[in-house]
């Protein structure tokens, strides 16, 4: 039961981070927290049943891999994203000192 409440609280934190964060990397982190909360809810519900239900566990495993794929694509986009005002004439980001 406590883990369901925890899942709800993490959901709130992730959602608020997703909407209020300024930096895109922080949005990616928030999205990960959000998905972790949903997984937590799924497994906490699955734990109630007897015998232990393996199907939600498999779904969460699948979900974790899909989350990593999403994160990888988002980060690859993010790395190619020049911050405004910090690029040279050719549009490439300047090297950090």
């Amino acid at each position: 039961m406590m883990y369901m409440v925890l899942a709800g609280a993490l959901f709130g934190i992730g959602l608020s981070g997703l909407f209020s964060a300024r930096h895109p990397l922080r949005k990616v982190l928030s999205l990960n927290v959000l998905s972790a909360s949903v997984f937590l809810l799924l497994v906490a519900v699955a734990r109630q049943s007897e015998p232990l239900d393996a199907v939600p566990h498999a779904i969460v495993l699948t979900g974790i891999v899909v989350t990593v794929s999403t994160t990888a694509v988002a980060l690859a986009l993010l790395v190619r994203l020049p911050i405004r005002g910090r690029q040279d004439a050719a549009g490439r980001p300047k090297e950090r000192p």
């Binding site: 925890l6 709800g8 993490l10 959901f11 934190i13 992730g14 959602l15 608020s16 981070g17 997703l18 909407f19 209020s20 964060a21 300024r22 930096h23 990397l25 922080r26 982190l29 928030s30 990960n32 927290v33 972790a36 937590l40 809810l41 497994v43 519900v45 699955a46 734990r47 049943s49 232990l52 239900d53 393996a54 199907v55 566990h57 498999a58 969460v60 495993l61 699948t62 974790i64 891999v65 899909v66 989350t67 990593v68 794929s69 999403t70 994160t71 990888a72 694509v73 690859a76 986009l77 993010l78 790395v79 190619r80 911050i83 910090r86 490439r92 980001p93 300047k94 090297e95 950090r96």
Partner: protein, 283 residues
């Protein structure tokens, strides 16, 4: 007597929940991007503990290897190549009139769905069909036998991600500009066979105990990322790692090839290949 045995577990759960909440807050609202990323990695590790407490050791293994390990490496490598923008934590929540009601609605919907789920679940069905699946671990049986199409589609998602990443082309800033210490590449060379061995063990273990293809692929991917970060594969990482991985995976996979349905599963080599390939084209 019962209270004495239940007490420590409840205290542990409470502390774990508080730590998770604090780390999630740090990751999403804390000051400094590096701190946020590190908080998130620790969050992933503590989530693995939470999975153990929820009697889901398979997910705990996957979370520790994929969630904390691979995601953490991806986040750190992206962080090293980002322009530091003016990030001072989160701003004041914008558009709160939109996301607060929307978030509450989604949360309520989730709660209702969770409430209305059929209570016995599918545990008995899985147990009754377990003998026909060829493995003893119910989670592996669900992943590779009963819901094999889900797993196949998930490999499709991985493939899609890999295609998207390849289509981006090379990134302007390389991952490892210079390796100051000669010990790092040597360490990478030394540790990589251990990673391969560990992933084979996890794969084999998955047939009767927590473990399996996902975790094995993740550990192999983590080994590839280690090679990449330690500068072993400097210069042309994708090509070099590709050759190395094909060689290792072929070596590992070959003895198991004939017969057994689990080892012959198509998703397995693709999964183990997909993750390292994806991570190295991110560099």
């Amino acid at each position: 007597m019962g209270a004495v045995t239940i007490w420590p577990a409840a205290v542990f759960d409470g502390l774990l929940a508080l730590a998770l909440l604090w780390l999630a807050w740090q990751a999403t609202h804390g000051a400094g991007l590096f701190r946020s990323v590190v908080s998130f990695i620790v969050f992933g590790l503590l989530m693995a503990l939470a999975w153990v407490r929820l009697e889901a050791p398979d997910i705990a293994l996957a979370e520790a290897a994929i969630g904390a390990g691979v995601t953490g490496a991806l986040l750190l490598s992206a962080l090293g190549r980002l322009e530091y923008s003016d990030d001072r934590g989160a701003s004041a929540p914008r558009e709160w009139w939109l996301w607060v009601p929307a978030g509450l609605a989604v949360l309520g919907l989730l709660a209702v769905v969770a409430w209305q789920l059929p209570t016995p679940g599918l545990g008995e069905h899985v147990d009754s069909a377990l003998a026909r699946s060829g493995v003893d671990n119910p989670v592996t049986a669900v992943l590779l036998n009963f819901r094999a199409f889900d797993t196949l589609l998930e490999v499709g998602v991985l493939l899609l991600a890999a295609i998207v990443l390849w289509s981006f082309g090379a990134v302007a800033r390389p991952l490892v500009p210079a390796v100051p210490s000669p010990a790092l590449p040597a360490l990478g060379r030394l540790l990589f066979p251990v990673f391969v061995l560990l992933s084979v063990y996890l794969l084999w273990r998955g047939s009767h105990a927590p473990g399996g293809a996902f975790q094995a692929g993740a550990v192999l991917g983590a080994g590839g990322i280690l090679m990449l970060l330690s500068g072993r594969a400097r210069g042309c990482p994708a090509r070099f790692l590709g050759v190395a991985f094909y060689r290792w995976v072929w070596l590992v996979w070959w003895p198991w090839r004939p017969g057994r349905p689990l080892w012959g599963s198509v998703s397995l080599p693709i999964l183990s290949l997909g993750q390292p390939r994806r991570s190295c084209c991110l560099s």
